[in-house]
């Protein structure tokens, strides 16, 4: 019966999208499968037929050794012009006359003797050549050759390597990824000098043709995982990929879930660590945010800095983070449940002062808490989007209004301000769960307002079932906790000393290979 209903729904969906199907199947750029001919002008005509008249397209015609006509085509601004002049035009136009050229100057001779460039490839298809031009390569065409030389002389203005703003660290490398794919891969390569580190590039996006690079260590990442990542990337049907968020939303396991099952980071050291766990990284051209899969819940509580500092303090920090997470999702709900339903749980002195504070407040605590949370979220959103100086001004004004004036005016009770402030501060401790935390907090608050402790418990049960149910690329989302894994616990609520963590996280890498040889107690401690 349900199958039938599902089929009907699916059919309806198909027929209804048929009308507006134009958006579904975007007109891809003309995929000409024409081959290049031996006639230079015809080839240039072909390319000009595909790339519309645009004033950044540069076609430079010249003659090699006073005999053969040739041309280079590139997009102005995407190539390093000095290098183009020095390594292509100069040898071809100048050196070719000085040397004693052979009787016939053909394209192989140009490639092997004249061009002073490292990266050269040859293509026969016009559309391949066009794609390369659009990506920033220089295309060399010459009369009498039915192929194009693709000369890699990309060079454009880019942001330098800076310290990322999202994941600030006290100790650890300061570099962050940039918007250029190649630089990002080089930063990972510099961290992991391992011959098994592999980068594979795909193109995603019918119009944007964005380069998407999969990075993994061949003997650590599971082949099924790599295949799955590739399968999902290849299935993406979209016009544009402008940021890794696009990819993330297309490949995640549970698109309707409030939890992200794809991780992201701006820090090469973090991504390198994840690769070494057997994960797969997805680097997208044009954004400093690199995706890593699989991503489990516990990762939100791990920071690369945890592994750079000593273990006792880090373990304490971990527990603080977990506490903060629970405070951030539960504090308003518990406060409302306590003050509305279970007053007997509050010590007498405290409930007296709370009652006194609530004396003149016209709203029940649920309404109070909802208003405050809403206001907090508005303030946060305002502060994030505005230019920094104005943002600060907004925060100060907002904080004064909700903190001081609302209490003095008797709109909000003072304890509620404390609860919301604690919640807000706690929620910033785990940036990765900021979005899911906000939703959980509000749902639990409403449940607590209607059903008290029972509502909170039921909400937490439902949340737990949902999280237990989630998977990220075959790895259960609550991995070291449920299903329970003893060795994984060493890197969860605490961070055990590094020399005790001999195994990679379970369920992710090829096997439970030893991460390194057990080195026993730390060095310098043998006496």
């Amino acid at each position: 019966m349900f199958n039938y209903i599902q089929k009907v729904i699916r059919y309806r969906k198909m027929t209804s999208s048929g009308g507006s199907g134009a958006k579904e199947s975007p007109e891809a750029p003309k995929e000409s499968s024409d081959e290049l001919s031996e006639d230079l002008e015809a080839n240039i005509q072909l390319i000009q037929g595909i790339i519309v008249e645009s004033n950044d397209l540069n076609i430079r015609r010249f003659v090699i050794g006073k005999k053969v006509k040739a041309a280079i085509i590139y997009i102005d601004g995407l190539v390093d012009k000095t290098l183009v002049n020095e390594t292509i035009l100069k040898p071809l136009m100048y050196h070719s006359e000085m040397d004693s050229p052979p009787e016939t100057v053909d394209i192989d001779y140009v490639e092997s003797e004249l061009l002073f460039v490292g990266g050269i490839d040859s293509k026969q298809k016009v559309n391949e050549a066009v794609n390369k031009i659009l990506s920033g390569d220089t295309v060399f065409l010459m009369d009498g050759a039915a192929k194009a030389l693709i000369i890699a002389l990309r060079g454009w203005k880019m942001r330098g390597i800076e310290e990322p703003e999202t994941e600030a660290t006290v100790r650890g490398p300061r570099e962050g990824f940039t918007e250029t794919l190649r630089i990002n891969t080089s930063m990972i390569r510099r961290k992991i000098k391992n011959p098994n580190l592999k980068f594979e590039t795909l193109t995603v996006g019918d119009r944007t043709k964005t380069d998407v690079c999969i990075a993994y260590i061949t003997d650590l990442a599971k082949p099924e995982l790599i295949e799955e990542v590739k399968r999902r990337l290849n299935k993406i049907k979209t016009e544009a990929v402008l940021e890794s968020g696009y990819i993330e939303q297309y490949i995640e396991d549970a698109p309707y879930s409030i939890f992200a099952t794809v991780g992201n980071s701006e820090k090469p050291d973090k991504v390198a660590a994840k690769l070494l766990d057997g994960r797969v990284a997805i680097i997208i051209d044009g954004t400093p945010f690199v995706l890593t899969v699989p991503c489990v819940f516990i990762e939100s509580f791990q920071s690369p800095e945890d592994y750079y500092s000593r273990f006792a303090f880090t373990s304490a920090l971990r527990m603080i983070r977990f506490t903060a997470f629970f405070i951030s999702i539960l504090a308003p709900a518990i406060y409302v449940a306590l003050s509305t339903f279970h007053q007997e749980l509050i010590p007498t002195q405290l409930i007296l002062s709370m009652a006194a504070a609530h004396e003149g407040v016209p709203f029940p605590s649920l309404v109070e808490a909802t208003i405050m949370l809403l206001f907090f979220e508005i303030l946060r959103e305002a502060g994030v989007r505005l230019p920094r100086p104005i943002g600060q001004a907004v925060s100060i004004v907002g904080a004064l209004v909700i903190g001081e004036a609302a209490v003095t005016a008797g709109l909000i009770g003072a304890p509620m301000v404390i609860v919301i402030a604690v919640t807000a501060v706690s929620s910033f401790t785990i940036p990765a769960q900021l979005d899911s935390g906000t939703i959980i907090r509000i749902v639990l608050l409403i449940l607590a307002g209607f059903l008290g402790g029972f509502g909170i418990a039921i909400g937490m049960f439902a949340l737990l079932i949902h999280m237990v149910n989630l998977e990220s690329f075959g790895t259960p989302y609550l991995m070291p906790i449920a299903p329970f894994d003893k060795s994984g616990l060493k890197d969860s609520f605490i961070r055990a000393p590094l020399w005790t963590m001999l195994k990679r996280p379970k369920g992710m890498s090829m096997d439970d290979v030893k991460q390194k040889k057990p080195s026993g107690p730390p060095p310098f401690n043998e006496n």
């Binding site: 019966m1 749980l345 008290g452 049960f461 079932i465 329970f484």
Partner: protein, 368 residues
Amino acid sequence: MKLEKGVITNTQLIYLILSFLESMVISINFSYGISKQDTWIAVLAAFVITIPIMLGYTAIAKSYPGKNLIQINDEALGPYVGKLFSALYIWFLFELMIHYAYFFNSFWITYIMTETPRLVFVAIFILVSAFAVWSGIETIARCSVIFTIIVSITVVFVISLLLKDMKIVHFLPILDLTPKDFIQSVHIILTIQFCDLIAFLMIFPYTKNNKAIRKPMLLALCLSTLMLLIVVLVNTAVMGVRITNTTSVSFAITREIDIGNVLTRLDVLVALTLLATVFMKVSVFYYTTVLGLAQLLGLRSYKPLIVPIGLIAIAISANLYPSDMEQVYAGRNIWPFNAMLFEIILPLITLITIALRNLFKDTGGENE
């Protein structure tokens, strides 16, 4: 065809049984009124009797590895009697589910939220339980790990806070009860607490190593009996003979906690923990009911049955007893005999049939 594709490990099975049996902390309340401060002896006696019964259950499961109770009935008892037995078992599991759903919220309504209609609790509870059942046995098993840990922590926490209130003298006089009362108490503990495990005959085939189920089952049984024993001892040591006055002792004793006027009235905390244990229990019964019914009716999936069974359960469970006193009466005097039929007599018939079949198979082999 397998209705459930999930597989749980044997370790998860231990946790599942543990969290399943942890709700004994509430259902033991039926016994306090009968065996008073000697309930702990009744627990031990019931445990000793339980072991052979559990061995019987595992023997049934082991003789048909990879088959659940419904399939075993079909094979052991033939298609007609087997179907009848299966229908009876499914009814029993369903009955258990609605009773536990009633049970938890009668407790919640009596003590905490006295003015909320029962329907609200039952409906929301079964709804979330349905979510767990929808997700399958793997999810339930994974949740059980977390629930077991939470409950154990709460028990240790509450006990440590109650240390100062415990008095050995509350156990005296020992064995001051008639044999009839003692037997009744043991009977209640046996049928209501331990032999609910018959539901696991539906779950055993989905364990990874379904031939080695005896060890995890007995281990979990021992651990949970230990926990029950500790809880009963603590309850008795704190409450003494007052233990008969309340319908929920574990809950009542936390009201005694008063640490420096700060940690007082932790009863809601305990109530939430107890909620977790009942949640596991209802989920397991819910799951086995729909799974069994789907198997009996020959469906391709058990999921279409979740909503109708849930709705029926809500409707019945919200109106199960006119008052809580009648529930206590039924729990003490009627339910043990009802449960005995399904937990002891029917499995015994199945076991004997299997044994006879094996016997005839062997002799048949010799004759040829």
